[in-house]
């Protein structure tokens, strides 16, 4: 079941089109990574989901309904742009404020969440004096307080240390797997998204470039053999003459990337060694999400 459904969503500010015909479906329990450069329209899409910006055209649906969006938003949590905290209040007071707004009855949830994000010992320090990482953690705790069914997170790991990034990744994965929470997340750390997300949506200049599942991404990230030998030029000649393929690239003059015979490792290795070459490296590698994203957005920008 799709719990988030965006159909031909557009947003104009005056004559400027910030989001242009963007569509997206996210199934319950899935984690969708929204990927795009700065100014691509990611935050505007998230703001439309949150009810902070009205779409110029197109439709939004939550939990299979496109009416009563505000009612659905009560079951959701948003963390947009920089975390929204009252700088004159401390962490607990900020949590208390959100507890009142969301109508969370259980006061203990505040301690639970502060403990969870590692802010249990900040005491009466005002949020205005927090580091970016601490503010980020507080923002996440505030988003999690009401146990949402859908979370929309804009750059949630921005400013966190590597340990914090891993903790948040594991936490989000756990929420999706164990509590079936659906998550839309944007981040500039694509390696993080590739480890976390089940779906990806690439956007550039407000336009949708591609929506794809993890499986589709894996299939599209072309794999290759990275090969090093004692004589790279002769290896290239052997590949062309004996294997009869030109689908290879010589990288930095000391490595060959072979994009053919990917299901026949024995034939490739045997052909090379049978021709008197010594293999010093032979591994199967693939393009990363980053490579794939850059190839898509780079092509678009050209």
């Amino acid at each position: 079941m799709n719990v988030i459904e965006l159909k031909n969503l557009s947003k104009n500010y005056g004559r400027k089109t910030v989001v242009d015909n963007f569509s997206l479906s996210v199934e319950k329990g899935h984690i969708c990574g929204l990927i795009g450069p700065n100014g691509a329209g990611k935050t505007t899409i998230m703001k439309m989901l949150a009810g902070l910006a009205a779409p110029s055209s197109g439709g939004i649906g939550f939990f299979g309904r496109n009416d009563e969006l505000d009612k659905s938003r009560k079951r959701m949590a948003f963390m947009l742009e920089a975390p929204i905290v009252d700088k004159s209040l401390n962490a607990r007071q900020n949590m208390e404020y959100v507890r009142y707004v969301k109508g969370v009855a259980d006061k203990k949830k505040i301690d639970e969440m502060l403990d969870f994000v590692g802010l249990q010992d900040v005491g009466k320090k005002k949020a205005g004096k927090f580091s970016l990482g601490m503010t980020q953690r507080l923002g996440i705790a505030m988003a999690l307080l009401a146990e949402p069914e859908i979370m929309v997170l804009d750059e949630p790991v921005n400013g966190l240390d590597p340990e914090g990034i891993v903790e948040i990744r594991l936490m989000l994965k756990k929420l999706a797997e164990e509590k079936n929470v659906t998550i839309i997340i944007s981040s500039h750390i694509l390696s993080e998204l590739s480890e976390l997300c089940t779906d990806f949506s690439i956007i550039n200049h407000g336009k949708q470039i591609e929506n794809l599942s993890r499986e589709e991404l894996m299939a599209k990230c072309r794999s290759y053999y990275a090969i090093r030998t004692n004589d790279i030029n002769r290896t290239a000649a052997v590949i062309e003459d004996k294997l009869g393929t030109k689908q290879y690239k010589v990288i930095h003059g000391d490595e060959i990337r072979l994009f053919d015979f990917l299901d026949n490792v024995e034939k490739v290795s045997k052909t090379i060694t049978d021709n008197g070459l010594i293999l010093t490296k032979f591994i199967s590698e693939g393009e990363s999400l980053e490579d794939f994203y850059l190839s898509k957005v780079g092509a678009e920008n050209e």
């Binding site: 949150a50 910006a53 938003r73 009560k74 947009l80 009252d86 208390e96 109508g103």
Partner: protein, 248 residues
């Protein structure tokens, strides 16, 4: 709506220094007459109320407006108001929650204390030359609530921690300054009459006039009319600005 009222109440009380200044400035108009009229031998309630409405009026409309606006604008400065919208709160509920909280505060510091204090003054020293005591009290309450509502609406419309207080202060003090200047120094020509009539619809002027006003000349209608017109007009503008959903 109770969730939003509780949240706003919690946030404003926790705003620390702002809340303290709010209480002090709110209580000043009540306290000041006691200090100023302490040495007067023949004092009565009328004199206290005149003092309250004239010198206190400037405090209530000007400085108090700045503080209320700063307290509300903090919500916009920190963007914490996003939480209300992201929770799908009804726009009417959002507006009414702010109105209720700040009118409760205004009532607690600017209506209840003077009513209690001046009841004691009236009992002890007599009412003085007042014909319509309860009407005067009622009009005073309406004017203070009108000022309080205007402060809330403008803060919600401007949503800027500096611009909103400055605008509120200007809207309070400029009409009062022009009105007093015309009354004190100019002849009541046609234009001046029109300007003073128009300005007397402002609650800023009404707060300085309500004790000694001649109720037979439509002052009551002006006070109630001003409250209704400002409330309906500013409520509509605030509602539309929220419904547009272009929050920066």
């Amino acid at each position: 709506m109770s969730k939003l009222i509780k949240a706003e109440f919690y946030r404003s009380v926790r705003s620390g220094i702002f809340f303290m200044i709010f209480c002090v400035f709110g209580l000043l108009p009540t306290v000041m007459p006691f200090a100023s009229l302490a040495d007067m031998e023949q004092k009565n309630l009328y004199q206290f109320l005149i003092f309250y409405s004239q010198s206190g009026g400037i405090l209530i409309t000007g400085y108090f407006g700045i503080i209320v606006s700063a307290m509300i604008s903090n919500l916009y400065y920190n963007r914490t108001y996003y939480y209300e919208i992201m929770d799908g709160a009804n726009t009417h509920h959002i507006i009414f929650s702010k109105l209720i909280v700040y009118n409760v505060f205004s009532t607690a510091v600017m209506i209840i204390p003077p009513v209690i204090a001046y009841s004691i003054v009236g009992n002890k020293y007599g009412i003085g030359e007042m014909n319509e005591l309860w009407l005067t009290v009622l009009l005073g309450i309406i004017i203070i609530l009108n000022i309080s509502c205007i402060n809330v609406f403008i803060s919600m419309l401007i949503r800027h921690i500096l611009a909103a207080p400055i605008l509120i202060y200007s809207l309070s003090m400029i009409p009062l300054f022009v009105y007093l200047m015309i009354i004190e120094t100019s002849e009541m020509t046609g234009v001046n009459k029109f300007i003073t009539k128009a300005l007397s619809c402002s609650p800023t002027i009404q707060i300085t006039e309500f004790v000694k006003a001649d109720y037979s000349t439509g002052f009551v209608v002006k006070v109630i009319g001003s409250f209704v017109v400002f409330f309906v007009g500013l409520y509509t503008l605030t509602y539309i600005s929220y419904k547009k959903k272009n929050f920066k």
